[in-house]
């Protein structure tokens, strides 16, 4: 007859083995299917959802750098979408061009009511442009680094530069130049954060790269 002590040892060992399997399955390196998946043949035949990565000129998570680069920093309420066009400056080649189909990076413009100025002195309603938006080749809008396209009624902290040629205020950075705000308490906190950043803003220019 198997003793109780032996049963206990067997039970403990069994529990340990089960837990080790669970732990291994939880922390073991997973295969990176996205990277090692069979790449497509070069037939230019896939038109999946756009994937866009941006290389930033500075640390956009640092409010001091965002404020330093922007002409205007303000809190505003999005009123409505007023435009949608390709990103300026990118060549929009015709169908017969050796450059192939048109560039698809869209921009979307919104009318925005200015609520609080943190840097600059905007008044009333201004037009703000965000990189990203609707395109004709996919149902979902193109989003830059998953920055959601703005919607009417949202309260947003904007960091913008004025584009004289286009006549609108351009969001300087996806996500970090159009920060969504929920409620009065968060609005006060965000304003306080960016006011403080303004006091120590970092001047940024292309000369950094020289």
């Amino acid at each position: 007859m198997i003793s109780f002590r032996a049963k206990l040892v067997v039970a403990v060992v069994a529990v340990i083995l089960v837990e080790l399997v669970l732990i291994y399955s939880a922390v073991a390196p997973q295969p990176h299917e996205s990277a090692v998946a069979q790449p497509s043949a070069s037939g230019h035949d896939h038109q999946g959802p756009a994937v866009i990565e941006t290389l930033h000129a500075f640390d956009v998570a640092d409010e001091k750098q965002i404020v330093g680069f922007a002409d205007n920093v303000f809190v505003g309420r999005v009123e409505e979408k007023v435009g949608n066009k390709p990103m300026k400056g990118v060549v929009r080649a015709d169908a017969n061009s050796p450059e192939g189909p048109p560039a698809f990076m869209p921009e979307t413009q919104f009318s925005v009511e200015v609520l609080d100025n943190i840097k600059g002195s905007l008044q009333g309603t201004v037009t703000v442009s965000q990189v990203g938006g609707d395109v004709d080749f996919q149902d979902a809008p193109v989003k830059i680094e998953n920055d959601p396209i703005m919607r009417a009624g949202e309260t947003v902290l904007f960091a913008t530069r004025y584009d004289e040629k286009a006549g609108h205020h351009q969001v300087v950075s996806p996500k970090f130049g159009d920060v969504r705000i929920e409620g009065a308490a968060e609005r006060a906190r965000v304003v306080e954060t960016f006011e403080a950043a303004k006091e120590n803003q970092v001047d940024l220019s292309p000369e950094l790269a020289e």
Binding site: E19, Q47, L55, P206
Partner: protein, 211 residues
Amino acid sequence: MDHFAARSDEASRVSSAPWPGTVLLLGLSMLAAMLAIVVVLADAKPASAHFNGSPPSRASNGNIIVRCFSNNYCGTYDWSRGPWNNQPGTPSVVADTSTNPAASLWIAEDYYDSTVETVAYWSAGYDPDRIYNNNYWMKGAASTYKHVVSTHELGHSLGFAHASYMGEGDTYNYCRKAVMYPNTYSATQCDQVGYVMPHDQEDWVIAWGTT
């Protein structure tokens, strides 16, 4: 058997009797300990590869073929094929100076936008992959800076995403670990600029390479 001996014997039997909850309690306590370990390990953020989920199109021989339409940076991108091609395994990044319609990456025409902090965009999902260079940041930059940008963007076309999220307080991460770090300001602060660095190499080996 005297009375005390009998009681002692009884106590012994009671204490060693197979209490039904003993094994269960022991198992549960071990489970809790193991869960704690899992939580700690999960929070430890072990080094991991970063892929963008968009494997590049490749020619029949496995190579990634690059066509360059840029007015300013074809030489820069040509230079940046070197650091990646020096990695073990496949594929090779090959420049195509002809009008090969099977090119898997286009260095698109440059653009100029002084209102955004974006140095370059890389996009996939509309074949071929494309790279857009912002002349506002790139045009007057030092060649080292341009090489950092071009090596980074070619890295995207090899399937690599950014090496780290921003705002982790590790400004000099770029210098030490990865050309796939997502901002170039760090590169200007480095005392020594590298191109394909240890973290990139780890990702390369996982995705493509053999050692």
